[in-house]
Subunit: 343 residues, 4 copies
Amino acid sequence: MKQYSFKNDYSEGCHPYILEVLIRTNLIQQNGYGYDEYSDEARILIQQKMNHHNADIHFVSGGTQANLLVISAILRPHESVIAVETGHIFTNETGAIEATGHKIHGIQTSDGKLKPEHIQSVLDAHTNRPHQLKQKLVYISNSTEVGTIYIKKELEELSAFCRANDLYLFLDGARLGQALTSEINDLSLDDIANLVDIFYLGGTKNGALLGEAIIITNDQLKAEFGFHVKQKGAMLAKGRLLGIQFLELMKDDLYFDLAKHSNIQAMKIKSAFQRKGFKFLSETFTNQIFPILSNAQIEDLSVNFDFYVWKKIDEKSSAIRLITSWATPDDIVEAFIRKVENL
Amino acid sequence: MKQYSFKNDYSEGCHPYILEVLIRTNLIQQNGYGYDEYSDEARILIQQKMNHHNADIHFVSGGTQANLLVISAILRPHESVIAVETGHIFTNETGAIEATGHKIHGIQTSDGKLKPEHIQSVLDAHTNRPHQLKQKLVYISNSTEVGTIYIKKELEELSAFCRANDLYLFLDGARLGQALTSEINDLSLDDIANLVDIFYLGGTKNGALLGEAIIITNDQLKAEFGFHVKQKGAMLAKGRLLGIQFLELMKDDLYFDLAKHSNIQAMKIKSAFQRKGFKFLSETFTNQIFPILSNAQIEDLSVNFDFYVWKKIDEKSSAIRLITSWATPDDIVEAFIRKVENL
Amino acid sequence: MKQYSFKNDYSEGCHPYILEVLIRTNLIQQNGYGYDEYSDEARILIQQKMNHHNADIHFVSGGTQANLLVISAILRPHESVIAVETGHIFTNETGAIEATGHKIHGIQTSDGKLKPEHIQSVLDAHTNRPHQLKQKLVYISNSTEVGTIYIKKELEELSAFCRANDLYLFLDGARLGQALTSEINDLSLDDIANLVDIFYLGGTKNGALLGEAIIITNDQLKAEFGFHVKQKGAMLAKGRLLGIQFLELMKDDLYFDLAKHSNIQAMKIKSAFQRKGFKFLSETFTNQIFPILSNAQIEDLSVNFDFYVWKKIDEKSSAIRLITSWATPDDIVEAFIRKVENL
Amino acid sequence: MKQYSFKNDYSEGCHPYILEVLIRTNLIQQNGYGYDEYSDEARILIQQKMNHHNADIHFVSGGTQANLLVISAILRPHESVIAVETGHIFTNETGAIEATGHKIHGIQTSDGKLKPEHIQSVLDAHTNRPHQLKQKLVYISNSTEVGTIYIKKELEELSAFCRANDLYLFLDGARLGQALTSEINDLSLDDIANLVDIFYLGGTKNGALLGEAIIITNDQLKAEFGFHVKQKGAMLAKGRLLGIQFLELMKDDLYFDLAKHSNIQAMKIKSAFQRKGFKFLSETFTNQIFPILSNAQIEDLSVNFDFYVWKKIDEKSSAIRLITSWATPDDIVEAFIRKVENL
């Protein structure tokens, strides 16, 4: 059997429907910079899906770009960000946020999720103004970087806390599809739009070639956002490429079908590990799982499959990370499960 | 006849060969972030085309991004840039370069080309160090934003001047294909690689969906460049999308064929204007032309064609800008020429 | 006779009254960071002098610091500055403004003064938003870097234009004392406070050891300014040093007496040159003059006096810059005038 | 008895000798921007004191300014800083370092001191380059913000570790005088200069009106530093003010005498608390002490003395912070001790 990679959810190209539309529309002339018909239609479709007809929507090419763009556009120089330390912006974006001038206050958690008491602790430690920074933006990811998700009650509490404390709530949705289609999810896209000030729908990790849709629901954050998109190099001349992809993904809920598929594939593998009595680094219900294996078992699995050894547990065992995607085929999952059963 | 746009060279999608390869390779798993096989092959092919086998090559998604990334990666905080005022970075990138902390000294020219004496004048005006900035990077575009190109002697003189004055020479090649296939060009890709320190080959304006290939030939500028690509949000998770495009464009010199086509279409239109005795804002030999028309003639042409009215000449006339591309069809050019002949 | 320097107005220490108060108050404990009694009193006194009892006032140590602090505190990332090219921020602060992320659009003038039509020309050239920057702040200096001043009508026109175009007007007052005590001045401190949004009163060039008083009269710009003062390193632990100086300078209008003295000394020298028929680079009525001399005359004067050769006029002559200060003694001025009379 | 403040070591003016020299030299003309005779002499004197005759020395006005200037001058955009979380740059400078684009990795410690294993842990967590930052500068303070000091062996180990790992070592010496005159100190100024790459000698907290002397001993960091001083607004026009102060402080080791005085006063108070059996938050040997008192005792002391309640220990008690200075008089210390004895 050939090697298959569970290293990440961006190892393949895009859903075939997208390629079909790229071919069909290829020679139709369009305006540049996101003013094309497809981007317009995609924006309307997204607004409809979340019942926010006045939301501003900007398509950009990647997650780091979306994060640095949003944060630098919103904050003034003396304002800072609060995030968990596993948050993508905290350690995995080469200091992109700080490079725009803003500190991130990091919170240590085991499940990758931020709670009001975490934020309160940062506020409490920064009362000596103006010698200390003013916290102004809370960054969360859903699903989180460790595969967990926020349930509705948690997001409502966070949202209420942020509004009470004059903090913007920004949700990194690089894997929002996976969160919203998780078996334990009780949030809708509409809820997200209501509860946060600004967020994005990730395309890159859910069936697109590239692209994230930044969605601004807080009116105060809408003005002049386009300047920032351009200034940070995030405005594609052929914006049609992003518009077409989001149009196709949103149409008939393909986006959610793909995310659900990735979750199901991961959950099948998770069950296999559970049946064999394996433990996990954290309990996840999306397309990432972190089973703990012995070194020998890891080596055994590595013969046919690629994945990251995520965290050393002790001398004899480590947690591995397995990520499935919209493109992970059933036969591969079955082959992997057979391997697990024979570990 | 339906409306056709000569407003820019990014109104269509990409060359069909690229779409074919996207389809063919779509489900083949690849490493992310530019470590895929296609990007590797594309890099080797580009190195071969210019006989610089040690050049470092990074693919990014757009021109503004390439410009801000290169300049911020190279310069220290007290170092500045010299460019012509028509240079893309000077007024058309929403202050992207200054947003990374660096001043651009602007030079007024009629032909969009920088000469050693321009640079010398800036150096002469900044001798009161450290109260004045240290100039360290010279930015040029080829072809320029006004459609002109550098001939070999000019680029050699600029290069020699920069080396003698400890200045880096950076060439914005968003339309480098058009420059190198212009009928008056005497520069090769190899020459460019030898004469400048860092440059890029533009894909977006020459047949790609998106993408610019940043090429570093000065060894001093190579180290740790990838950090900057990531930090500025310019590193695509599915780097394969960029690799595939440049591989396809470079193979069999498709890139140069496309650029040549765009030049030829523009030159045909230019000849038509010349035959009718029209004057031009500047004399160009690439895919941009700037004929001067009366207001009535402009209105007449506008019935069937889209283009920018570029510069008011007097109350009765203006220069318009017409841009052709790899995708501009012969029949459209012929229809336009017939219109010109009847003006 | 010993060498005397007319190179600048910061060659001596401070007015002796300041030293006396420093001694008298030296061991009285005070709060740090500008919350001391002297700073409080100085703020009230300045508010009274200009009849703006709600103005916010922050003392910082120098002009470059005041400029970069004010501009970076006020502007959002996509907003830019308009200034004349002789403006201090444009070429004499090592790119301090751009280092905070903001472009300065430079205007060429002969007299160092900005007019509404200059600003309009920049606005007209930047209508392609969001690809071009949004201009938001107009920077002027009074007196200017070339020794000229704004009269009331000019400042009123500028102010009205800025308000009509949603632009902030910021006045660099490093030499505001000299402007307001010039023989041709018709502006009061009260007028300045009414017509601009933010400005500063320069201490360094008018009798203080160091210090500029930033004055914010536009309510929208007041909030949270202290954070920026601290973040940019401009908040002195012993703020008392600044408070004491401005208290002493403002008391009994010493500030204006000192400025007037510096103007008078320059005007005496100007008259001497005029009597001998010399021409000037520009007509100034403050403490800077720019007479045009032959090379031999320059050499002759240089034997006993230091000054800058400012601008080469032709092979045989140059303009020199002579600056007088609060400390320039009568006998030196007389000795210099005798020299001029014998040129 | 009147209220006396132990809140900080910058509540008074400066040592009287400095005022005397300011008066004596006040009207002697000098070059601006640190090119005056006093600054030159002060630089030579400092070089001699530490036996580093090639060290570059720049005088700036405050600690936050020194920190942001040094770090932004040294680091490239993708390089980061490692510091303890009590480090001044981490929480008490309004994000000044991040505002220049650089992340600070914070380390939690109980004694405010950084050890090689702390640094190693950060390096180990950032191996996924270029997606993670490159650590390049280690920031320490001596004495630390919590009153502790580094002994020679500790600094040697840190220095060796940094050199082995290609990290710059930067020492914030806002209270270096106190560290070097502590009763448990075994480091000389010469040692400091040998073991770190760049550091500063704090004047503001040890007898000056303002001023820190940045000292660069690593040759690689010397070039073009002046540009950064100017760009960040840290270059005083009347640099003489800083030169005179450091000249006076360094002459006859006044600097060390003043620091020693501040330490002795604190140690006398510490002994008084110890004799009464009080505990401390940390064991300090410089001019800061952190005794733990009951709420009633704190209230009692507050009647006559000002100080910060530093950290709540439990419902009934807190640690207070007492800081002494070069100016703290014996009679005040004795009065305070009598109060302690009666608690």
